[in-house]
Structure formats: C-alpha cells, structure tokens
Subunit: 250 residues, 6 copies
Amino acid sequence: MTTTRADGRTPSELRPVTIERGWSDQAEGSALISFGRTRVLCTASFTGGVPRWKQGSGKGWVTAEYAMLPRSTNDRTDRESVKGRIGGRTHEISRLIGRSLRAVVDMKALGENTIVLDCDVLQADGGTRTAAITGAYVAMADAIQWARGQKLVGQRSRPLFDSVSAVSVGIIDGVPMLDLPYVEDVKAETDMNVVVTGRGLFVEVQGTAEQAPFDRSELDTLLDLAVAGNADLARIQREALGYDPLAPAS
Amino acid sequence: MTTTRADGRTPSELRPVTIERGWSDQAEGSALISFGRTRVLCTASFTGGVPRWKQGSGKGWVTAEYAMLPRSTNDRTDRESVKGRIGGRTHEISRLIGRSLRAVVDMKALGENTIVLDCDVLQADGGTRTAAITGAYVAMADAIQWARGQKLVGQRSRPLFDSVSAVSVGIIDGVPMLDLPYVEDVKAETDMNVVVTGRGLFVEVQGTAEQAPFDRSELDTLLDLAVAGNADLARIQREALGYDPLAPAS
Amino acid sequence: MTTTRADGRTPSELRPVTIERGWSDQAEGSALISFGRTRVLCTASFTGGVPRWKQGSGKGWVTAEYAMLPRSTNDRTDRESVKGRIGGRTHEISRLIGRSLRAVVDMKALGENTIVLDCDVLQADGGTRTAAITGAYVAMADAIQWARGQKLVGQRSRPLFDSVSAVSVGIIDGVPMLDLPYVEDVKAETDMNVVVTGRGLFVEVQGTAEQAPFDRSELDTLLDLAVAGNADLARIQREALGYDPLAPAS
Amino acid sequence: MTTTRADGRTPSELRPVTIERGWSDQAEGSALISFGRTRVLCTASFTGGVPRWKQGSGKGWVTAEYAMLPRSTNDRTDRESVKGRIGGRTHEISRLIGRSLRAVVDMKALGENTIVLDCDVLQADGGTRTAAITGAYVAMADAIQWARGQKLVGQRSRPLFDSVSAVSVGIIDGVPMLDLPYVEDVKAETDMNVVVTGRGLFVEVQGTAEQAPFDRSELDTLLDLAVAGNADLARIQREALGYDPLAPAS
Amino acid sequence: MTTTRADGRTPSELRPVTIERGWSDQAEGSALISFGRTRVLCTASFTGGVPRWKQGSGKGWVTAEYAMLPRSTNDRTDRESVKGRIGGRTHEISRLIGRSLRAVVDMKALGENTIVLDCDVLQADGGTRTAAITGAYVAMADAIQWARGQKLVGQRSRPLFDSVSAVSVGIIDGVPMLDLPYVEDVKAETDMNVVVTGRGLFVEVQGTAEQAPFDRSELDTLLDLAVAGNADLARIQREALGYDPLAPAS
Amino acid sequence: MTTTRADGRTPSELRPVTIERGWSDQAEGSALISFGRTRVLCTASFTGGVPRWKQGSGKGWVTAEYAMLPRSTNDRTDRESVKGRIGGRTHEISRLIGRSLRAVVDMKALGENTIVLDCDVLQADGGTRTAAITGAYVAMADAIQWARGQKLVGQRSRPLFDSVSAVSVGIIDGVPMLDLPYVEDVKAETDMNVVVTGRGLFVEVQGTAEQAPFDRSELDTLLDLAVAGNADLARIQREALGYDPLAPAS
C-alpha cells in the first residue's frame, strides 16, 4: 500500500506511541500514554478486598472507569458530573476496558484483591479507548508488581498470564488503515476496535459499519492490520515496563 | 456437527422464531418477536421533524431505546426508572440497535422524519438484543409503509435499501453454536453478536472473550455460523412482512 | 339508561375483559389483562424475607410498581428511566395498587415473605390503573398458590381473605358511566376510581371533579355503578383462576 | 356521639383553626394556617404568563407544591432535596392541592396568568394536606385580589367562583371522627380526605381502608361529617379574609 | 460616621433582632430568628449515635442543613427538591453553618450523640446565613440543655465552651456598614461574613470582592465592625436563652 | 522564623512552583501548574456568546469548574459523575475560582464572549484550589491573547486589568506557615486561603478555625504571609507568560 496519510504515515503504521510509567506519585501503578496527540492518564488502584458478590470466592476483581476531561476535545464538552449522569458512550468504553484487562488476569492468583483502572483522557485525537486499554495494562502490571513487593499477592502466583493491547482500524476511501486519528475516524466507512493479547489471541472485536456495511474480505484485511499493530504495541509495552510481568516473582 | 443441545437443536439451528406484526393498535409499526422463550415487543414511532442538530439537513433520523421489564428475568431486577439512572448495559444495547437499523436506511429518502424504535423485553432467555434488532426491523418497515400510505415520505423514495437482522453465536465446551439461550450464554467461553443485512453484509461484529481469548479460526467459524443464521432470519422477516419493503411504492 | 356509547356499550356495561394467566414463564404468578384495548402485564414476584423495617415482625409485605411502555399511548411518551425520575402520576398509581392489594392480604398468614407486583401497561386506552389492580390480584393469588406448593407459607394459613378489583366510573354529558376508555375519560366532568373487594366492601374511593364539582346524589349513583361493575370483575377473576384462592390449602 | 377524644373534642368537632393572613412580606398572597398543632405556611405567587402548553389559550394556570420541613415531624426526616428525588407522597399531595384549587378558578377569567401555591409544613400533627388546601385558598384569594388591584386581571372578571377547603375524617375504634391529629390518624381503620366547596359540592373524595375495608353506611357517615366540617372551615376562611373574594371587583 | 441608611440605621447598627425560642413543639431545641425582615426557623435535632466514620471515637457530631422556601425571596425560586439537586450556594452555606457551630462544641463532652441543625429561611432579606448561625446556636444550646435533662450527656460535662454568632459587613459607596439587607447587599463592592465567638475569637472570615478588590485598611475596618456587631448578637443570644449554657449542669 | 518543615522549607517559603503553558493543543489557553506535588491542569475555553441572562448586556462572562481525578488522592475517591451529584466541596471551590478570576476581568472590554476555566486536579497534595486559581489566570491570559489575535475582542480593549493568584496559609503548632501540603493541612489549627491581585489587593479572604478559633493578631500574621506569597506567585506568573497581558494589544 502506498497511500500516504495526512500525518505522513503509511496505512499500516501506528502513530508515535509513548508510555510514561509512574506518572502519579500516589497510585500503585500509573502510565501516561500517548497515541500521537491522544493522551490518556491511566492509574491502577490496588486495594485489599473485593465487591460483596465476590467475597469468599478466593478470587480478585478488576474494573475500569473511563472519562474525558471537558476540554480534551476540540470543542468543550459538558462534564458528566455536572449533567448528573454518565452517557452511554462512557459506560460502554468503561465496560470494554474492564473486560479487556480481566481477560489476561488469573483472578485466583490475584486473590481477594481489587484493581481499579482509571483512564482519564487529557487530550483526545481518536483512539482514546485503545490507548486507554494499552496504557491501563502497563499501570496494572506495575500495580501487581507493587503488590508482590508488599507481599499482598503470593510470591509464586502469576496473576498476569498474558499482556493486552488495543488498536483501531478502519476503511477510509476504500483503503484499510491502522490507528485512526480524529480526522480519519469521522471519514471512516467502517471502524473497528480490536483488542489482542501479547500471544496474538483476540479478546474483543468490535466492528461497526459507520457508513456502509462491509463484506468478509474487508473484515479479514482489517483483522490482519489490527493483529500486526497490536504486536507492535505489545513490544512497546514490554520496553516501557523493562521487566517481565508474566514471570513468577523471584 | 452432531452435538445435541439441551433444547434438542443442532449447533447451527435457530430457536423457533415467531413474529407477530401489528401487536400494538397505536404505533405506526410494531412486532412482538420471539426467539424461543425470549420475547421482545418492538414498536416504531414515526413522527415528522428531526432533532435540532439535523434540522435543515433534509435527512431523517432513526434511534432506539431498549429496556427490560423488571420480571422479564428469572429473578426480579430493579427498574432503572426507580434507580434514577440507566445502566451501562442498557445504554450499550440501545446504541447498538440504533446503529444497526440506521445502517439500512437512506436518511435522504426518509426526509426530515424521525423513527423511534422501542424494544421492551417482556421475557428474557438470552439473545434479547439480537431479537430486538430483528423485530425492530419489521416494526420499522411497517412504519415506513404507513408513512408512504400517509404520503409523509415520497412515493418514489426508497428509505429502506436492505433488511437487517442479528443473531448471537458462541463457543461452548469448544463447540461453536448459534443463537444461545441463557443457560448456554453463561457457559460460553466466547460470545459474539453479529448484525448482518439481507444482502449478507456485516453491520456489526461484536465478539467478546468471556472466559478465554479466541484465535482466528474460531472467529472464522463463528462468523460463518452467524451469516447462515441471519440468512434464515432475513427469510423469516420477509415472510412475516408479506410484502417487499425495499421496493419503491407503486 | 338508554344512552349508547361510541363502542356500543350501555352506560353500566364493562368493556370486554380478558385475563390470560401464566403469561410469564418466570414469575411466580402473572396475568395479561385486557379492559377493551387497555392491556396490562401483571407479574407477581414472591421472595423470602421482608424489608428491614418489617424484619422480625413475623409479617409479610406486598408492594407494587406501575409503569407505561413509551408507545403504549397514542403519542410516544418519554421513558421515566431516561428522564431519570419517576413522575407524580406513576408514583401515585403504584402506591394505589400496593394499598389495594395489601387490603386483602393477612400479613401474619403470609409470614416474612414479600410479594412485588409489577404492572406494566403494554397498551393504554383508559382505566390502566383499574385493570392493573384487577390483574395484579390474579397474579398475586397464583404466586401465593405457588408458595403453598413450595411450602413457603403454612399449608393451613390463608394469606388471602378476600379478592379485590377496581373500575373507573365517571359522568359524561351528565350521564354516569362505567369503565371509561380514553375518549370518554378526557370528556368526563367527574372521574372516580373505586376499589372494591369480592365481598363488596370499599378499599379505595378516589373521586375527582375534573371539570365540575359534584353533588351527593351524583356521588351515590357513581358508587352504585362501581359496586356493580366490581361484582362482575370479581366473577371474571374467579373464572380466570379456576380455583378458590381464599380456601385453606388442602 | 358522646365519645371524648384525647384532646377533649367531640367526634364531630374541628381542632382550633387559625389563619394568619399576609404572613409573608413578599408573596402576592400568604397565610400561616393552623389545625391544632399542624402549621402550614401557604404562599401564592402570581406571575404573568402560562406554561408553554397553555400559551395562546387565553386561559390561566394554577399549580401547587407541598413539602415538609425536615423537623416538622416528631423524628427528623431527610430532605427530599438532599435525597435528590421527591417521594411519592409529596407528589401525590402536591397534585391533590393543585386540582382542588383549580376546581374553583375560572381559568378564562384569570387570563394568561399563573398562580403557584407553595404549602410548606412547618409543624406536622396530622391533616397537613387538608390544612394546606384550606390555607392555600386564602393565599390564592389574596393574590387574585392583589392582581385586581394591579389591574393584571380584568376588573369585571371573577376568577374565583367558589371557595374550597378540606378536612380529614376517619373511623377509630368504630367511631367516625372529624379532623384527625397524628395519634388518631395512625389508629384509624379508614381514613378519608374530603375536599368541598363553599357551596357544599365535592371536589375530591379520597377514602382509603388503612386497616379494614369499609361498607356503604360507614362511607355515608364519614361524608356527612366531612361536609359539616368543611362548612365550618368555609366560614373561618370568610372571616379571615374579611371581604368577599367571589364578588366582582368594584 | 453619620451616613444614614434607607432603613434609618447608622452604618454600625444591627437591624432589629428577635429570637423566639421553642417555636417548634417537636424539636429538642428551636428558634425563629429575625434580622429585620429576614426570618429563619432553626431547629436542633438531638439523636443518640454518630455517623459510621465517628463510631467508637467517643466523640459527638454536629452538622447543619440550610434551605430557602421557594417564596422566601422576592421572585419565587424553584425548589431544589424539584430540580433534583442542591445548588452550590446551598451546599456552601450548609457547610459554613456546620463548621461554625462545631467550633464551640467539645465533641468529647457531647459523647457519641449527633445534633442536626436545620435552618430554613422563611423570608429572605439579606444575611440569611448569618441569621441562621446566630439562631442555630440558640437552638443547639436548648437541645443540649434538653439532653442534660434527659441525662443523655453527662451532668458534669460541658459540651459548649463558647457561644457563636455571625454578621455580614460590607462597603457600600465607600462606607463600611454592618448587617446588610438585600438592597445594600447587591450594591456592596465588598461583602464579608464574619463568625465570632462570645469570647471575641474568629471562627470564620469570608470576605469577597464582589465588585472591587479591597485593601488592608478596608479589611481592618470591616473586621472591627463585625466584631462589635457580634458582641451585640452574643448579648441578645444570652438574653434570649435566659440561662448560661456554658455552665456545668447543676 | 527558624522552624524547618518536613520538606525543608522555612515557614514563609512557597513550594517549588512550575507552570507549563500551552500543555493542551486544543484549548485557547492552558497551563499545567505544580505547587510541589500538587498538579492541576487548567484550560481556558473561549467561545462567542454569553449565557441567556447576560445577552444584550454587551458584557462577557467568566466561569470555572474544578474537579479531582479519582486517583489524584492518596486513596481513590469515587467519581462525582458516577455518584450522579457534585459534592459541596467541589461546588464551593468551583465558585471560588470563578469569582476570583472575574475580579480581574473588565467584562465590558471582554464583550459578549464567555471563558470557561476547567481546573482538573491530576495529583493532590494540599493547596489544589490555590494552585487552580494561580494556573487558571495564566490559561485565561493566553485565551484572551488568542482572542485578540483572532480579533474576537477589540484590539484596544484591555479585558484584564490586573493579575490574580492564591495561596494557603495556616497555623501549625502555633507557627504561621505558607503554602501547606497535605500533611500540614490536616494538622493546621487554622487554615486560610487568600486570593490577591498583582497590585496587592484582596479578592477573597477565607479563614476557617479548623481546630481552634483565632485572634486578631494571628489573623494579621497570616494575612502578611499570604500577601508576600502571592507577590512571589505574581512574579512567577509574569515569567511564565513572558508578555504583559495587561497591556493594550499593539
């Protein structure tokens, strides 16, 4: 593919991705992640105990909340706290992040502990939910490492059995493209968010025909792009962490 | 595949599907649809005018709201009106239904009119969102037919350019299966809702690894099952309607 | 009185009333009741235990919730769950249904169990609250019968000591009439909902001068009509049930 | 009847009723009314214009809001503003007060003006809604008189065509009694609120079998008591006003 | 200073202040306080026990809620209960009242008991928060006296170690003035609420430049005025109480 | 004063203050400000038009919203959007920030434009409201500069007539101290937030006796400290801006 995009990337190229670990002095794990101009602050809060409906199960719990600062967008959007209710999109993304991260956690190994992932979008330029998942994994890995250091989870237990990341793909003017910024996102005929583990397995595939239903071969091409993009993200996550969070604690 | 399910179906068989058109005396279109024991009342309300942000565009609007009666479930669930807020799942499904139906409507041909689809689950036994989409299409087709009779949309305009239906698929004990009732749904390792048009194109693919991430070949098998199931549903929709809603008005 | 109404009834005649018992596969008791075109789905949910303020009293509790589907009405009304608050009318009717049904239940005999009656109006054409009370009684009777079968209430205890039903009456163009559909309801000078037990005693008398205050003799005539209408409804309830819910379990 | 009550009254006697007109310096009409220890501050706010759905009708509007101060009751009750929602009882009573006062207003004569009646219970000892209706009438009469003085309503128009008051009645230990304080209210087998105009016509009859369904003769006796009690209240209202609000302005 | 104000006062004079103790028959302590036309009903509810986060501490808790009746103001304001949320101003004042009263209570001597102060503005003409604090102190003192009588607090313990009152001061047309009614309040360049104890110590100083930032000498003059005004209020509180609430119980 | 604090500062020393201008690519003005470990992202959104109640006045409007990220604190706090209501503290601080910034804006010169200041606390270690005011001033100055560049405000008009900043002061163990971090804040007997303009005038003085009422000389010492601290902050703001926002546009 030789199409060039507004930002100079090839169709199968990620935007510059940076991950700043430990951005927060207070959270057990944290990461400020950028996918180009999209910036999301991810914190992982590790606490003992689980919600009532899991008590006594011997298993842990992982959940997530996503939100956008009012001026993370080009025009200011009203705060959901001021409106007094959380919108459907926010709910939907929070649930997606939670499911994605739970997919790589062995709840038994986590023990009766809870990890809450807060993903706050400081600046939005497309792909906020995929950046959030990718950054939240790093924050969660650090929180688990912290818990091991504190002996809050067993030294031999391996709460993480895989890594997880996410990326968007879409078809614009007939060309499948990876990691869409806002200007591409609004033009996409089809838009898909794909969550993949470090081992290359699918956790979530959410494809939507924004403007035109798509056929099987388009779907296949998009999935190929997404799998390759997530392999890059898994590598970037590993480099950011600088240790292997899947290994048993030594 | 020779596995037999609790209800006697083969893995690639739909539950008995019935569509009772015109269940409501008041709505412009309505359908009481059953997927086995799951029963959803779908009404289509056709009104002139569009929301403020579409006024003057010459285009129409289609939106949907989904809800469950408190005792549609095995244990009673609290009403969202009493709790004072709509949950994430409700929001997410309402948005899915709206997007799915908009995918087959030519908003220009609809003109500045709005169709609201209300999908109320009277009894829930898995697949409520897929039954809702499938039934809402029938209700919407009838509402458009009504609007043509009332000359509220142009006689030569064709607001519908395709039909749409949805079905769930999942992997249970390693076997891919079509149209999961509640007992299968809770056991599924992977669960996918697939929205397909009458012409066989994808509108939404929403796959989730509930218990175990899935690989590409599992994904392919699930998509095959879903496409075949939706072809059956498209036929059942045509039979229920008894006329061709895609044809220009005579 | 020889006045004929739009639907051909005499002033003292009920609309056709049908009661479909066991409409729900999941509730302990249920009834889909019609008063003409008004259709209400009533479910009774029987659960062990009572609200905190009744615990340890040895007595049970019965409560009700009423709601209308958005397109049960001629014009679509917004969902109360979406508006985020329950309107005054909904509250008022829910409370009325609850009080009416508690009036025929011996809470001591029910024991520390709770019955929640959900009355959801699927189609509204006047008299939704009276149909709801009349149908909820049937659902409740079946739920108690179910509880006896499950030995959740004592075999010799008689939680029900009477039946209960309700009907509307009103004065239209000076003529007192029974069981008003929507077109009559909006024209009524005076409107009254009367809840009466099978033995002919009053549970609730709610008369409102919608357009003109009324005198004592008008009030008396309306009460006579309502008592006679409720006697018919009590008979229809007995026939629908096909057994005597007031008898001690054998 | 020779039964004597805890407070020394005969069964057919009202509690001492006082009406302090013009309690508020700011409202167009106001009255602090007492039924024994029950004290309600009623203000009438007269403003030009009507709600959107009445605009252009040439008719006015009257509405009411009822509330209790948190420590008007024996035990403190939480504020509805703090709970974030208005309870069913509050809604129900606000609606009752509004309907009762609209019953004596000629909306055509009022013109496109709105009167809002605020009834705030400063101290509660049973009968708060009946005191509120009785006091709100006085506040409303003064607001209309004020509007005449301001020439906001026609000098020859007569917006009020009757007065209105309300009183509770109930059966306690088999004895029908008038105007129940709290201690009697909780013991009443049957409880009825009756709203009657100065000419003796019924506006609202709301009877509830709190503990035991009641028969026709009990109902008749209660209505007799209520009519007599309201005749007393109408006289007290006239004396408090000191002018005839039903007369055309001179 | 010889400037005369619209109501004839000198700049350093309070409006007429009246305190009617025991206005409520039900609260453990109550006071209807007037600062000119501003009238606030303050009740103190004394109950055993403390909020969860103080349990076991051996200490008590004091909190306050402030609200305005809808027609306490010149134009009617909507009820916060109807709007479903409490406004920022209400929250802010409730918190101020609570902090001010806690400043003179020895929580250890109060024991694990809670006092809730409800300050409801019946009529507003400026200075509602300062009247509320001043009146709430009297209500609280009486509630503590009541609790001593009931032996709910130790006879030798002295829960109150000082009195507390509040007054507003402001600069109008360059002249510092005490206790601003509404007409002065809206004209003030600078507005300050000062809460002072009977011993003359500061509890809260809240100065705001409404129209023009102020300098240190203006600040000093305003503080002098406020301290003198509060000394007057402390005397009026003592006279209203007629006993010394700071003395140990005899 | 020779007392040394935990972080090595003298009592009259600010924490290290940094201001990163233009942190956001999208807002018309923005600043990421740090007071030690406290970090607040301030954005200024400049839009044409004013709220309804100011339309036609020829004057502009400035308002602010403050919020904390859930894990900005040491223990995670629930999101106000999830709780569905904004707490009293949040409301109070938002109002304080808005008033403080309005105090240095000439609304006539701003014209009918609105500036919304969003202050989101990314990390909290005491003094979040004072950092927010100080940073919001810088963001606002840049937004006004942007508007001048866009010719949205007159070239000769000077919407800003002074700068504004804020700092906390308190008495800890009897020693007055400047700019309290969290550990000092919780120990303070008295806590004061003081908002001062670049010219040294007071905008807000909010002093609270957290543990012990304070006398006049303590108040004076605290004000002196605060004035000096704000002079430092004004210098840091000027250096961060690098231009004079009070000068008329050239």
